[in-house]
Amino acid sequence: MKTIREYFKEAHAQNAAIGHFNFASPDVLRAIVRGAQDGGAPCVMVGTSPRESDFLGLTTAVALVKTIREASDFPVFLNADHFPSFELCKDAIDAGYDSVLCDGSRHPLDINISETRRVVSYMREHNPDGTVEGELGYLRGSSKVQSKVSISPSDFTDPIEAAQFVKKTGVDRLAVAFGNIHGIVTDQKEQLDFGHLARIISLIQSTTIVLHGASGLSDLQIRTAISSGIRNIHFNTELRVAYANMKCPTIQMK
């Protein structure tokens, strides 16, 4: 199987993106893998947030992904999504995760850099094929349906800081904020600032740029994000909504 790094190289070469979908149960994981295969993807990333990981267990998530990867003969990579500290990232790497997102975006820049750099060093030492994502900027909202989330340009990732962050940490991917919101908003239209994204990408062209909070974006916004240079796209809430809408009535019927 090719490494996740090789798949991202292909994504860069083809001006394409790799999908990342969250799960917290075996049936959702299977749905993600089958959906990615149905859609013709070369591989798929699946992720567990800290809460999803607590529910499922790190070693269980690793075992499930290993099993479905082998059973389906399809490349599936497991990411620790928004793990907020070195210790939690280390636990995920030790458990066998292929990738971690060390999310120090709530910290001052210097602390975010030092924490993320520690995670990169640990990953390189323990799993040379593993990858590390960092995050800069304030990505508001959460993985649920919300009426409105106020954001301002001051939340956006600063392009100069992004260049500094990438250089000092050595991350493989960087999650950025340019108008995107975690979750789905019902009473506002998400406005992505593609000019701002272009300024970020112009300074860190060799790094994979990640769009979080893609649930609720239009197909056009997603296609534009990819043509603008986004190479990894995260979805969670739309999956949760689809699952809950079908599951809850069925169980109530019983």
Partner: protein, 37 residues
């Protein structure tokens, strides 16, 4: 449908939810732009 009366939620009752997620992932994946798609 399971006929085990002790089963609170028969597994096949969750199939529609799994299929709904699968469909969302397929639709999103079609947007990603790989030449294999």
């Amino acid at each position: 449908m399971s006929d085990n009366p002790n089963e609170i939620v028969p597994p096949d009752m969750l199939a529609p939810a799994e299929n709904a997620v699968r469909l969302v992932v397929t639709q999103k994946t079609h947007l990603f732009g790989f030449s294999t798609q």
